[in-house]
């Protein structure tokens, strides 16, 4: 027995080579079924720790790829969620508008604000309806909450709206409770006010509606609420500070009331009167 061990030790290179070569040949000469069994045995016994390590490495590689793909998916879904949220809000607004259009006895043309004029001088907006939809100048524009402005210029599919924020805009309004009439105006587009006579019956919290006397807005559209009453320098008048009903910062969808100005029918006469008076002033 000892001589065998001595032989192996003295010829260890040769015996190692023979052993491994024989093992390789045995594996090579076995049939596919046996090869599969050997492979399974080796995989589960000897190579399992290495396989585990290798699998973990591959998994980490996959985790990186999966992470990247999930990030892309999250970005796409975020956009989709934002779109759906926007659609939901729009749906709410449009549902509200639909109910509004059924509330008023006028023909309302829904429109979307496509451009806002950011300047402080002329507060205006462009809406996506125009001559093609039967819109005419001086038609009133409202939102679900109340009067917002009037059309001042009409193009084919667009119209320019002069908002009530515009200092050049004057709106004839009245106190809903006491029917006191005044002109709603603003100096800077932020603070709205009405000058009432000193003895007018106006209280803080009174609702202000359009009077229908200006010839543009029909009577009864909400315009705002009396926020504060201040004494004027002129004791004949008192100033009512109004908080407008419409939030002009969030103007997205509006209605154009298909109501031509009440003075449209006698516009020709008005124009001719203007011409005569102009001629009269021109003569020495």
């Amino acid at each position: 027995m000892q001589w065998i061990i001595r032989f192996f030790v003295s010829h260890r290179n040769l015996t190692s080579l023979c052993a491994t070569v024989v093992a390789s040949f045995l594996m090579l000469s076995s049939n596919p079924g046996q090869q599969q069994n050997i492979a399974r045995l080796l995989t589960y016994s000897v190579f399992y720790p290495f396989q585990f390590y290798f699998t973990q490495t591959t998994r980490i590689k996959n985790v990186f790829a999966e992470n990247r793909s999930l990030k892309n998916e999250i970005a796409g879904l975020s956009v989709r969620v934002a779109q759906l949220s926007e659609c939901g809000k729009e749906n709410d607004r449009l549902t509200g508008m639909l109910s509004i259009s059924q509330q008023y006895p006028y023909t309302l043309v829904p429109a979307r604000v496509v451009v806002r004029d950011p300047s402080f001088v002329s507060r205006s907006a462009i809406i996506n309806v125009g001559k093609d939809q039967g819109i005419l100048p001086y038609m009133p524009v409202m939102t679900g909450r109340g009067a917002a402005g009037k059309i001042i210029q009409v193009m084919g599919r667009m119209s320019l709206v002069q908002l009530m924020l515009d200092p050049a805009n004057r709106t004839s309004v009245m106190v809903q409770r006491s029917r006191e009439i005044g002109i709603l105006e603003t100096d800077n587009g932020d603070d709205f006010f009405i000058m009432f006579r000193a003895h007018a019956d106006v209280n803080v919290g009174d609702t202000i509606i359009t009077s229908g006397l200006g010839g543009i807005y029909p009577r009864g559209l909400l315009a705002g609420q009396v926020k504060k009453l201040t004494e004027n320098r002129d004791p004949i008048f008192k100033k009512a500070i109004i908080s407008p009903e419409v939030n002009f910062d969030r103007l997205e969808e509006v209605f154009v009331i298909k109501l031509p100005p009440q003075w449209a029918s006698f516009k020709q006469e008005l124009d001719s009167l203007e011409t005569i008076s102009a001629k009269g002033t021109a003569q020495p």
Binding site: T20, M27, A39
Partner: protein
């Protein structure tokens, strides 16, 4: 001794990981380097015939298990290659990097020739496969793999700061 074992296990595992992850990226016209063979070469040339045989056998067997080849084919070829390289180990003879590179090239040819011979015998491939395989696949693969061995030699030649023990 233990640190050497750990070092070489890391080298072989790293080679295996790089072979499966990095090498496919740097494949040129279907030719890819065999990093396991390069690692086996450096191991065998340092430790000799018997470690070269066993490590070559283990590496080959591992490769057989994780690649669609005949079980034992890589084990046999890598065993022979490990034994061949081990014959020229640093304990027996001192050789310069050029000789070592030539040795690696020859080891590659022996490894691939054996591989093709087994394929011819077991799968009944025509004998022309041996020559075609050697010229079309083995030579470029050997040269490409040698590039990595040369990189290792260059790294060895870079002077490193002395570490005080």
């Amino acid at each position: 001794m233990i640190s050497d074992i750990i070092k070489w296990v890391i080298v072989f595992m790293g080679s295996l990981i790089l072979q499966t992850s990095f090498v496919p990226i740097i494949t040129v016209a279907g030719i890819k380097p065999d990093l396991l063979m390069v690692a086996l070469f450096f191991f065998s040339i340092k430790y000799g015939v018997m470690p070269g045989i066993f490590v070559g056998f283990a590496l080959g067997l591992g490769q057989d298990l994780y690649s669609p080849s005949l079980l034992g084919q890589n084990a046999l070829t890598k065993t022979i290659a490990g034994a061949f390289i081990g014959l020229f180990n640093e304990r027996m003879m001192r050789s310069d990097p050029f000789i070592k590179t030539a040795l690696l090239f020859v080891a590659f040819l022996i490894h691939d020739a054996l591989y093709f011979i087994i394929q011819i015998i077991k799968l009944g491939d025509p004998i022309a496969t041996l020559f075609a395989g050697l010229f079309v696949k083995s030579l470029p693969r050997a040269l490409y793999s040698i590039v990595f061995a040369v990189l290792f030699y260059i790294w060895e030649l870079i002077p490193k700061p002395a570490i005080r023990k």
